[in-house]
């Protein structure tokens, strides 16, 4: 079910973020500010790690559109996380060409290494992982990406995955 009971996060966009919003909206003709919705949702997610209902309501106010217009869009596109996730969300490609070169094996390894199932968050709050559809890097598979900058990790092996996770852990400590 795509619904939330209540929302009590109290989101206030920082002046820096609002400046970025303003830059986005300036790209479109007058009155077409709704075009800025996707870029702005990306900015919100990069800032907070996910997109809360409260943040969406504030975006609606900013763009002078109805809140439902934001919900409709945010739930359509798969990149927007509508629940808080781990600090690092590892998104691994699970589509055909990557599977030809072992993506399924890497997904199994990832699950084992992190000790959580797809979509869950590790106990330390650091990691989540999920299979995503084709990332347009089929010649370099298996691949995974990590937001908010969507850094790419290509030609994955079990060892490379271990190294990546250990590095990320070390970075946070």
């Amino acid at each position: 079910m795509l619904s939330v009971k209540q929302h009590n996060e109290n989101v206030t966009f920082s002046p820096e973020l609002l400046t970025k919003f303003g830059e986005v909206v300036s790209r479109y003709p007058e009155g077409k500010q709704k075009s800025g919705l996707l870029p702005i949702l990306h900015l919100v997610q990069a800032e907070y790690g996910w997109v809360s209902a409260d943040a969406m309501d504030k975006v609606a106010v900013y763009l002078n559109i109805l809140p439902i217009e934001v919900y409709e869009v945010a739930t359509f596109y798969t990149m927007f996380l509508l629940q808080p996730k781990g600090k690092y969300v590892l998104e691994i490609c699970r589509t055909g060409p990557c599977c030809l070169v072992g993506a399924e094996r890497i997904m199994g390894h990832l699950q084992q290494k992190l000790g959580v199932k797809e979509g869950e968050v590790t106990a330390d709050g650091l990691f989540s992982w999920r299979g995503v559809e084709c990332l347009a890097a089929c010649g370099f598979g298996p691949v995974l990406q990590i937001g908010p900058e969507y850094t790419f990790y290509e030609n994955l092996t079990e060892d490379k995955v271990d190294e990546l996770i250990d590095n990320l852990k070390a970075k946070t400590e």
Binding site: H42, G96, L100, C134, C138
Partner: protein, 451 residues
Amino acid sequence: MARKLLLTHIDVPGINTFEVYRQKGGYVAVEKVLKTMSPEDVVEEVKKSGLRGRGGAGFPTGMKWSFLAKPEGVPRYLVCNADESEPGTFKDRYLMTHIPHALIEGMIVSSFALGAHTSYIYVRGEMMPQIRILERAIAEAKEKGFLGKNILGSGYDLEIYVQPGGGAYICGEETALLESLEGKRGNPRIKPPFPAIAGLYNCPTVVNNVESIATTVPIINLGGEEYAKIGVERSTGTKLISASGNIVKPGVYEIELGLPVEEFIYSDEYCGGIANGKRMKAVVAGGSSVPILPANLILKTAAGNSRLMTYESLADGGFQTGTMLGSGGFIVFDEDQCVVRNTWNFARFYHHESCGQCSPCREGTGWMEKVLHKIESGHGSMSDIDLLWDVQRKIEGNTICPLGDAAAWPVAAAIRHFRDEFEWHILHPEESQTRNFGLAHYADPLEPIVS
């Protein structure tokens, strides 16, 4: 070495910067166009070049441009489709990462030809690094006077903006892309009207693929007629092919259209043959939505002619024995791969990516995925194969946009060419969980089986 037009300088260090790109002859096409040509001249050159849309449909680009409505006082838009999401296709990412200025230069040439003063590059949201690269390239070009007001003193103004998507394959469909660019759900529009009449913000709009737009640069530099001499018949010029799967050298290759498929797969200049000394089982030649062909039919047409990398040759034999060049996503399967599993995987992809607007695609893609999963996991029955065939037939051609066809074709082709593998899965439910069907009769170098 074959002729290269887009990736000529791919290995030059710093080619992603304005300076190096310019040193290597970059932005000459912009100068030529703005100083010596009219917009109509540019459209004419592109028409003469015979360039066909590189995003998958293969529609002649020049003709698409000439359809653009030009009412007085209404802005026109060029939107670049960089929502590259078709499984097996990764050429646009490669081009944007390494030679971003090739796209920017093409955008300027194309925008000028169409009379657009604001153009957008819609990049899929997952390509955040490429978005940064393009934004930097735009800033550089602007700083050097190739973008902005009164470009090179020609009186022509142009701004280019990069727009991120949000994770939706369907936004590669041009009207869904326009909806998304307007900040809406990526539901394809019901046509007519076509974007050329009412596109972005209800204004006349052309949507072109990254590679198509970048290709306008060599077309202008060489001249349309000269460009058209490269390639075979109506497949003119060069094409970026994304090669993936079980080959020695996966990657992006620029080929002259007309190259034999066999040479592409086995020569060291390109894929370098099948990896690990295995044999080839099948190929998906143009991205996941085009029909999969068994090895014998991809190398030779049903009539026994050598199959070439062209729109026509790959389509030879129709869907009975042929396939499509599509977006050039060339996926090679070796003898260890399971066609049933791969078909299920693709079906899951289309199910996941269906926008849900029209009923055959919304419900049918999920149905196909479930039936395929049932067969794959060893619980299928013979009637499931016929059911699957019937369901795909009910989707194909009956939907608002081509995603329905794209979901139906791979399933149809898999059953058409690999029915025995499906049957084997059903007859050997336990064995099929531990080993794969293997090569059977359709692998090279055996004779093709023509129905």
